[in-house]
């Protein structure tokens, strides 16, 4: 399992893969939004939590279709299905690897982009905390979506259509936590709910995703 994790992370970082791409996309969103909305600091400060969360979500979505598709094409997914480790574990590990190359860097870069978007000072801590708590859920939910569409030829668009509605609760709680943090209010409730979604998704969705992969490889 650890070997699989290392392999996935290596592949993602090395092969000109989604690693830099997601980060670049996140940066672009943070640059383009002020260009579109206007340079007014007050407005930007108000929308910064939402923009950063939506940007992180889309950046995460961008690399999802590679999660299983590459392994499906070269046949290593078939090997993984027949391997002695449970497929649920494989899915969880691959989601974890996806998080390490997208969610984690996004979380670390987010404060820098917060400066660009004029995020109020108390918001930075909560931005990092909420992204750290929430992005694993994005990866796991995305793994489920990728598992559903793994056998399809043009799965990319369909994948977004399937996954985006599932991201709604995560987005709401995540952005709400940052917004409340930036305004100096208590953030306990949205953060707890966000953590609950991540924990629940990480515990249950690998089973659904593994079932979907088995069906797709039948």
């Amino acid at each position: 399992m650890i070997a699989l994790l290392i392999r996935d992370v290596r592949l993602a970082v090395r092969a000109g893969g989604g690693f830099g791409l997601g980060l670049a996309f996140f940066l672009l969103v943070a640059v383009l939004v002020p260009l579109g909305v206007g340079p007014d600091g007050g407005t930007l400060a108000r929308i910064a939590p939402g923009i950063l969360w939506v940007g992180a979500l889309l950046a995460c979505l961008l690399s999802l279709d590679r999660l299983f598709a590459l392994d499906y094409e070269d046949g290593s997914l078939d090997l993984l299905v027949t391997a002695p480790i449970p497929l649920e574990g494989v899915v969880a590990v691959k989601a974890l690897a996806h998080w390490m190359v997208t969610g984690l860097p996004l979380t670390l870069v987010a404060p820098v982009l917060g400066v660009l978007l004029n995020l109020p000072a108390p918001g930075y801590f909560w931005l990092v905390v909420s992204l750290a708590l929430g992005t694993p859920a994005l990866s796991v939910i995305g793994a489920f979506g990728a598992a559903l569409t793994v056998g399809l030829k043009r799965g990319g668009l369909l994948l977004s259509l399937l996954v985006l509605p599932l991201y709604v609760p995560t987005l709401i709680f995540g952005a709400e936590a940052v917004k409340r943090g930036a305004e100096g209010m208590a953030t306990g409730t949205p953060l707890a709910l966000l953590a609950a979604i991540t924990a629940g998704a990480a515990a249950l969705l690998p089973f659904a995703a593994a079932a979907a992969i088995r069906i797709n490889l039948r």
Binding site: L148, G151, L152, L162, P165, V168, F173, T189, L193, A208
Partner: protein, 242 residues
């Protein structure tokens, strides 16, 4: 004689052929009576004026939009557990009907909201939940359309339906939570049964019955089409085999 007998396509076709005209007729009757009654023979609400007449479309459509998803969930579970093909096909047949009901609920809601709240669209929790529900329907239908093998498609959409139900519920509560900060006291909700007096309640009841019957009739009709499509595909496959 058990209910599962109707999981046999042949039996289902025989039964549904006999039942369908009655259900469709009853649906048309209820809808016509309920809507005519509601439109022509009810007084105006003292606060909302004539716009209260929209309730006869809005509330039944919204109810059935949710119930259709629940029915799809049950049908998907039956398919995943007992492998009855008819069950999977009813879920497939119900999805477009549910989507249209959701759209009706959204459209009438917008038209009602314009004079009452002064805006076509407010990010009210209920409206937002319905928009999300429409997205779930779209994803479900798109997945059915995208997968070629019918059994694979049924399995995948079944799983999507179950996971989607959980997340739809989560979204419902998340949206409620999210809106508190924005416009609190958004008492835009349509105070259902409790506040509606009998004058509006009885025609509304007839309309709800009409929508339920219409849903059943449409699902039966569309399931029959799906079963025929399966048989056609099987015949063509057999022909090719020689």
């Amino acid at each position: 004689m058990s209910l599962w007998e109707y999981a046999n396509p042949q039996k289902f076709m025989h039964l549904s052929r006999r039942v369908l005209p009655f259900v469709a007729g009853a649906a048309a009757l209820c809808l016509i009576v309920g809507l005519v009654w509601g439109f022509f023979a009810t007084p105006n609400d003292y606060k909302q004026g004539p716009t209260v007449k929209i309730i006869y479309l809005h509330v039944p459509a919204a109810m059935m939009a949710i119930n259709a998803w629940v029915m799809m969930l049950v049908a998907s579970l039956i398919w995943l557990i007992r492998r009855h093909h008819v069950s999977a096909l009813t879920a497939k047949a119900a999805a477009p009907v549910g989507l249209v009901f959701t759209l009706i609920a959204l459209a009438t809601g917008a038209l009602w909201g314009q004079p009452m709240w002064g805006t076509w669209w407010a990010w009210d929790p209920r409206l937002t939940s319905f928009l999300i529900l429409a997205l779930f329907y779209l994803g479900y239908i798109a997945l059915w359309a995208a997968v070629d093998d019918p059994d694979t498609a049924a399995d995948l959409t079944g799983i999507l339906c179950i996971v989607g139900s959980v997340f739809a519920l989560l979204s419902r509560y998340a949206v409620n939570f999210w809106n508190q900060g924005l416009h609190q006291g958004a008492s835009l909700s349509l105070d259902k049964e409790e506040n509606v007096s009998d004058v509006f309640w009885f025609p509304l009841l007839v309309c709800i019955a009409g929508f339920v019957l219409m849903f059943v009739a449409l699902v039966l009709l569309r399931t029959r089409t799906e079963i025929r499509a399966r048989r056609l595909a099987a015949l063509i496959a057999r022909e090719r085999m020689g």
